[in-house]
Symmetry: C2
Subunit: 284 residues, 2 copies
């Protein structure tokens, strides 16, 4: 692991790091904020998965999470959203993956791709569930018994599905404007079709609503969704998650926020709320 | 004035606007955050002037000012740092102004240039002191009797010098890592030499230390400066401001912050402190 940069911020250290990932076969970059803490202390961790087109940098620069994390003593980790590299920008991946904002680079969808050529590198599920946590546990003062997970849009989908598939692993799960059911939206059809193939049976483990319908449960979850979000009706379809939770008796706090859109102006507004919600569960 | 974008954030509206500036002869862009407020209310205003290479966007995205401004009921305005336009990218301005980060585009230094070709457009002093306040007063619910001013680096220089030259206009003045004495640093020599010519007599009204030495006074001022700032020794020279204030009996709170650098990771850390400091003076 190599340190790209560190900056003191809110009393702690905002770092950016990169490493050669065995999972994706590429160099991967991620950011970690470590609050000021007593020597030898292990801190709870909040994972934040980003949305389409994003890298680690978007939330790191615009997320406004550091004050709340510093106050709560929570480490905040922001991975990238896909493998990247010259050999993924044209050789291995059809043109579509290079040019489209919603497939390929910046759009890994937190799946393990099974379809060539994507199956060679697009293994973001294993990267987030296995490789990166191991790396982080080696290098940062994290208490892996106290993990929470959140994310935005495609990353909200990632947070919900990863948590639902790994019961007990995350004490707290939240999302900002998540894609709640890729099976039921154009972004999902394009991504899951491309990475996993046309057989939708393989898609269910990457669909939060399908996972809940299939019996997966969390202690609770928190979702904030802007009512002024341009993607709400066609892509995000928050009501499908509410309906799935209602059917299943899955406890869920799903809040529609009037006037807010899909941007970091929305996310930053409610970030401290989410961190407080995670802190209650991670530190309780 | 034309609206470029508006986003709901922290209960208020973060907008970006542009207009044809008579002062600079170019289109100018700026951002305004208006907190949620009672209909008909007029709110105090905090001006924030940005540093070298910046536009309105840097602080708007990374400054983390909205929560504190929303809570205090303060409008936050971020202008651009220079005129911009195709005719300033090669025709009117020597190559240096195009290529350098510290002169020309993004580096207006809040002066009225007197030297050709810059004198045609680089009138950032008049733009910030006259034209933009008039425009803002027409279009936003601002109480112009309650204005504060702040800024970062070159913008900290701008905030200090504009406030010192306009006694009584700003109830509160602060700066993050300001260039305190352009007369005494390479950035200042390059910029003031280029915009104002070699005669340093013309530079004094653009030098906070020289203004204080010349008798200009403020009720008080607040400065935060990172001790880990790479520009501290050669360019910023905070000690010169401390010495000028000591000589003059100018009240000043000048804080050195161990470990912090010149970036928005530093600025965002202390932004809420500054806003609270301004709020005390703007709302007291």
């Amino acid at each position: 692991m190599e340190t790209v940069s560190t900056n003191k911020s809110f009393g702690g250290t905002q770092g950016v790091y990169k490493h050669a990932s065995a999972t994706t076969g590429t160099e991967m970059t991620f950011s970690v904020f470590v609050p000021d803490h007593a020597e030898g202390a292990k801190l709870p961790v909040l994972w934040y998965l980003s949305g389409l087109t994003c890298t680690h940098a978007n939330v790191t620069e615009k997320g406004e999470f550091r004050r709340a994390c510093a106050e709560a003593g929570i480490i905040f980790i922001a991975p990238d959203t896909s493998p990247r590299g010259p050999d993924l920008q044209g050789n291995d991946v059809p043109d579509d993956a290079e040019g489209a904002y919603d497939f390929g680079l910046g759009a890994g969808f937190y799946v393990n791709a099974t379809q060539a050529p994507f199956s060679a590198h697009y293994k973001m599920r294993d990267y987030i569930e296995k490789e990166l946590p191991e790396l982080v546990a080696q290098h940062f003062p994290v208490d892996m018994e106290r993990q929470g997970i959140s994310g935005h849009s495609m990353g909200g989908h990632g947070a919900l599905t990863i948590s639902l598939r790994n019961p007990g692993r995350f004490r707290s799960t939240s999302a900002f404007s998540p894609i709640v059911s890729p099976i039921n939206c154009p972004w999902g059809h394009k991504a899951l079709g491309g990475y996993l193939g046309a057989d939708q049976a393989a898609w269910a483990e990457y669909d939060a609503c399908a996972l809940i319908d299939g019996g997966a449960r969390l202690p609770d979850l928190l979702v904030d969704q802007g009512e002024g979000d341009n993607f709400l009706t066609e892509q995000l379809k928050t009501h499908l998650l509410r309906e799935a939770c209602d059917r299943a008796g899955q406890p869920a706090t799903i809040r529609l926020q009037p006037g807010y859109d899909h941007s970091y102006y929305f996310i930053s507004t409610f970030m401290a709320d989410h961190i407080a919600w995670h802190a209650e569960r991670l530190k309780g």
